[in-house]
Symmetry: C2
Subunit: 688 residues, 2 copies
């Protein structure tokens, strides 16, 4: 990087506190006091960035720009750019009918307003809450989704209402049945959605998960013995700024308010050749549609990343509980609404884990064997979307596989119900008086592919039987089958769904480069099995607003700034027309054959709640794989040191010369247990 100072940010680095401050001051100077919704890195233009990455010594370094979104007095929304080196605004657009992301600070305000609003107090009384107990009333403010009564020129939140008999009770046990609507510009409640059937506050005893409640029920179990995980010699990864190197992988770890973790310029050192794989990976959007069609639940759905931000909602992680072992943390830095600065300490945790057996083979003839244990690298964040928590982990394996993993935990969104009320199948009574509605969690993984270079092509891969009938000469025993590859030639053709019966996978290939042995294009395959269909129907509000969720896969030609598939400003979009992906694809004629492409993959779970999920849910994991196929010329992990290896010649020589690097800290569980010294026990075929 030539003469650039050591503290010069990498072009992919998030804005530093100093840079955020520069942007804020620049805006304030020009436009006075405004509310800052966003001050975030505008990522470098790709053409400029790839030129610099290819030749940092001689190419000029991409300039740093801040993407700034503010709300000015009168509710005017501006979307601008600040050139940070020059402290100069280079773009300043007034938006019309677009609502920027809702910040945590905006969310925090609503509860205070709700508690004092006379109409809300009146409804609380109807529900059975005494006016003097209004401090026990809580609300989770959500965007309104889209509500045609109000449109999108007024900035709104709907307040999902709850009650806590005691300050430490889990409020989701005590939902209130009405829903105030908050006008963020006025700072007041402008309407209340009141259901026809009223459901008074539940009188059920609380069932809390906090320690005092557990103690009162008999206390914690005492039979769990500790498992210690330590790395006395340190970790196996190396960081230079935010660039990490581990087991042939190298990539940059970014973070923004919207997507949270962003991984850039992911490469793999293949025996000395640094091979690009992905230019950028992120969880770009999500949608959580709820399935109760009765008002006011019918517009209950959350596009959490676009509406609140997986970065803004991210947790400050803790050593020894969120993360165990030897951990490296990175902070996240954001503006406050009034132009201050805030730091989320430990927003990202990075650590290694043992990954079990990486490969093994033993020869049945002589029990010669090799056992090699694997390791994985995990880049993780956890964000809290009101009731829910999402644990997002980017898991790197030594064999070239990247396995994004999401765990769902936290608390169900709940609504009030009468005793023995019929839920009509739209929800489940998870506790007396608590109706948890059916919902989906659908995530959109944005894969900016760079498989041995930017020009890539996507093929659908389906396992299909031979067309020849059983008994025919071409397929006498009827066993023939093959991998049917279908090229997705245009953005329109790329709209594809999952097919479990054919083990469908999507192959991101570089057709310009063939594997030396298989003569097939080098590729990464997207192997994803948790791919439910979108339950909201075609033409529904969710279908319109979250166009990415209509299909498991869309592919677009790369265009700068097409980052978020429900659009940049998501709150209160009507879906007419659909923003983001549907808009970008348009008539679908754009070629995606052998060009710079982005694959958008929607996956997730359909969640029918059950009492096991209440009052707090045991984590449910979801995993998908990006696997090298025909990418390497052979198994890329043969040089990972084995735990044990013996060859036929060593067996013949009485095990002389065997490689024994077994873990000496492993022990038998019981002193009187049956065990054997490692790998030297009688073989599988040893006779007694």
């Amino acid at each position: 990087m030539g003469s650039i100072a050591a503290d010069t940010p990498h072009p992919f680095d998030p804005l530093s506190l100093a840079e955020i401050e520069t942007a804020i001051n620049t805006v304030k100077k020009a436009h006075g006091q405004v509310f800052f919704n966003v001050v975030s890195l505008q990522e470098p233009r790709k053409a400029e960035m790839t030129a610099w990455l290819a030749n940092p010594e001689t190419t000029s370094r991409p300039k740093r720009f801040a993407d700034v979104v503010v709300i000015a007095p009168g509710g005017k929304v501006y979307d601008g750019l600040v050139d940070l080196a020059e402290a100069k605004i280079t773009k300043w657009d007034l938006l019309d009918g677009e609502q920027p992301i809702i910040t945590m600070e905006e969310l925090q305000l609503v509860e205070h307003v709700v508690r004092k609003d006379p109409k809300v107090i009146e409804q609380c009384i109807i529900s059975g809450v005494a006016p003097e107990d209004m401090h026990k009333v809580y609300c989770d403010p959500w965007t309104i989704g889209y509500d045609e009564r109000f449109g999108n020129k007024v900035r709104l939140q709907q307040a999902l209402m709850y009650y806590r008999p005691d300050i430490d009770n889990c409020q989701y046990q005590y939902p209130l049945d009405f829903c105030p609507i908050y006008d963020a510009d006025k700072g007041e409640i402008i309407a209340i959605d009141i259901p026809k059937v009223r459901r008074p506050l539940s009188k059920a005893p609380s069932m809390d998960y906090h320690p005092a409640a557990v103690e009162a029920r008999g206390g914690y179990r005492t039979d769990l013995k500790p498992i210690n995980i330590t790395q006395p010699e340190g970790v196996s990864f190396k960081l230079t700024g935010r660039e990490i190197e581990w087991q042939n992988w190298k990539f940059h770890i970014g973070f923004n308010y919207r997507e949270g973790i962003v991984l850039n310029n992911i490469t793999f050192n293949d025996k000395g050749t640094v091979r690009p794989i992905f230019y950028r990976l992120s969880l770009a959007e999500m949608v959580v549609p709820y399935g109760n069609p009765e008002a006011p639940h019918h517009h209950k759905h959350a596009l959490d990343q676009g509406e609140y931000g997986a970065g803004y909602m991210t947790n400050s992680l803790s050593l020894g509980c969120d993360c165990k072992g030897s951990i490296h943390y990175m902070d996240a830095e954001f503006p406050t609404r009034d132009g201050g600065l805030r730091t989320i300490k430990n927003a990202i945790c990075i650590h290694e884990e043992d990954a079990g057996i990486l490969f093994k083979h033993s020869d049945f003839r002589d029990d010669s064997v090799i056992v090699t244990r694997g390791r994985k690298l995990i880049i993780q964040q956890i964000f809290t979307a009101a009731n829910y928590e999402y644990v997002v982990a980017w898991v790197f394996h030594q064999d070239g596989t990247i396995a994004p993993q999401i765990k769902l935990t936290g608390i169900l969104n709940t609504y009030a119900m009468l005793e023995d009320e019929d839920t009509h199948g739209w929800g489940t009574q998870v506790y007396p008086g608590v109706n948890a509605h059916n919902h989906q969690h659908l995530f959109c993984l944005r894969i900016d592919a760079n498989i041995d270079g930017p020009n890539n092509t996507v093929f659908v891969n389906d396992a299909v039987p031979s067309e020849a009938p059983v008994g025919s000469p071409e397929n006498y025993y009827g066993n023939g089958f093959y991998n049917k590859r279908t090229k997705l030639a245009t953005e329109g053709e790329s709209k594809t769904d999952y097919n479990g019966a054919t083990s469908r996978a999507w192959e991101i290939a570089n057709t310009n480069k063939l594997n030396p042995y298989s003569k097939k294009p080098v590729s990464y395959k997207l192997v994803s099995r948790e791919v439910p269909g979108l339950m909201p129907k075609e033409g529904s509000l969710v279908w319109k607003r979250a166009s990415f969720a209509r299909h498991a896969v869309h592919v677009t030609k790369y265009r700068d700034d097409e980052l978020w598939p429900a659009g940049k400003h998501v709150p209160q979009t009507s879906g007419e027309p659909s923003r983001g992906l549907a808009e970008w694809i348009g008539d679908g004629t754009t070629s995606i054959d052998n060009t710079d492409i982005v694959l958008w993959h929607t996956f997730g779970v359909t969640h029918f709640p059950s009492p096991e999920d209440f009052p707090v849910m045991p984590a449910e994991p979801m995993i998908l794989l990006l696997r090298p196929r025909n990418f390497f010329a052979g198994n890329p992990v043969m040089d990972v040191p084995p735990s044990y290896a013996s060859t036929p010649s060593q067996i013949l020589a009485g095990k002389q010369g065997v490689l024994d690097a077994t873990d000496k800290l492993s022990t038998l569980a019981f002193a009187n247990g049956n065990g054997a010294s490692c790998c030297k026990s009688n073989g599988a075929n040893g006779t007694h």
Copy 2:
């Protein structure tokens, strides 16, 4: 257990060495010297066993029987039973046209015969192997599947042929192109399948995975730092005989020659009530169909458990390499072919692992938080089916979930190919001269359900949109969706396939017992996403022989001895008629509604090999879940001690009284790294 001696076996225990010996001696006494293929526990009749389990003090203990299969002189196959207490044969049936399982000892014999057979030597010469190099010729003997030229009265193996230039070379790099057929009764080669196109022995340099080869290529990577996993206070599970207790779970761990690990009488202690969940769980059969329809590959498929046995092929596991941490092992005991005894030391390993976050929630208002880490218990075996290894793990979670997991590793089955030969899409050149054929690995999980008692019912669960159109009063915003439950009333109706679009799951319910809150039947759901269709066509040999693989799920009424869905004696079955599941289901009219049922689930992967898989495959995992739904009245893990918990009142009191049990051994990765004391860092919303 009253006055029964401490060393009296549990009725589910595998036969002890002494019992095996008793059975062998009893048979020898009656029938002279025979070859012993099987001497294994005949599991107690269920009616008798459940009576005893319910009341062991007053009910008579089920008697112990040995299931014995032998081959007598002249190739006569007998299937018998020995009453062990009486040392008496109680059944002795001569089989006709049925071949019992092929033992490891039988497999071992073939290579020696092949090397000396003049016709094989002749073919080796044609392939380019000198007669003096016949000791470098190897074969993997497989059952023949079924071959109409020979039928099933002659006991056969096909010898897949390989060569090792050096004794330590991986032979799968050097396949030979012809296939001798071995008659086990005669002990000689009776035919050789010779392809029309000859493919001489590959001259490619070897690419081995053994240490010397890795060293010659530059050596092992040196940048992996150790991860130590220890349990200084011991493990959290308890064993009484083969019954394990851990985190409210209790079950018996059996093992047999066929299925390997068998788990019986699985119960969960739900706040003092011991609730039955599964009477028996096992991997009951598998099939690996290969997809090349060209002779002689067209009959290449393995029903590994029925043909060779996941128990017989199981590895002796090693402390510190196959298993890391604090491990308990169990041995497996079998007869030898000539009536001796053999022990596979450490056939099963049992250990705990940290399972990451079990649940978490933080309140966005005040950052009050609970973080609880999970633990899992793993019962594992690894078996080697010639080239392949299967790592089978039964993973128990604290929340009542059982997650069977299979990892595939080992080596591809390979065949010879000419330079630039067209594989016609039936395989992939993974290395010069090495064609790895397309194949599937399909496993059949046998679930003998006992959800709060034996009378259970299976429902298909599909997530489906409301039938009401978008804009209609019943579904105005189009978001309505629900869980459509379809009862499988008869064995015929139970034949069901996976549907990813509807997030299909199978609900094993006890309709006689409703959850107190949801009023839905208590149930366990089978959530399985790796469910490819069977690629061999309807009417094909594989379709006929492996009827369990025709559908993702079959359900049958429980009947004693219906354990293995391709039949008891699998080698050389013709599939006419289909043995096992198809035979048991018959016309499909048997009711499975509210009765004792068994669910058979076929899952797996479709494998199109690529060079990354060669010469040894990085492990590919597959996982499925058996999850309690509406089974518990609430989250069953709230009493697992949290790592950290703070309540709103404690936050208000300056964090006084918070529960801090964070792992004190966790450290920051870098001394100069950025970190914070656990859970006491600035909250997510803390301002800078």
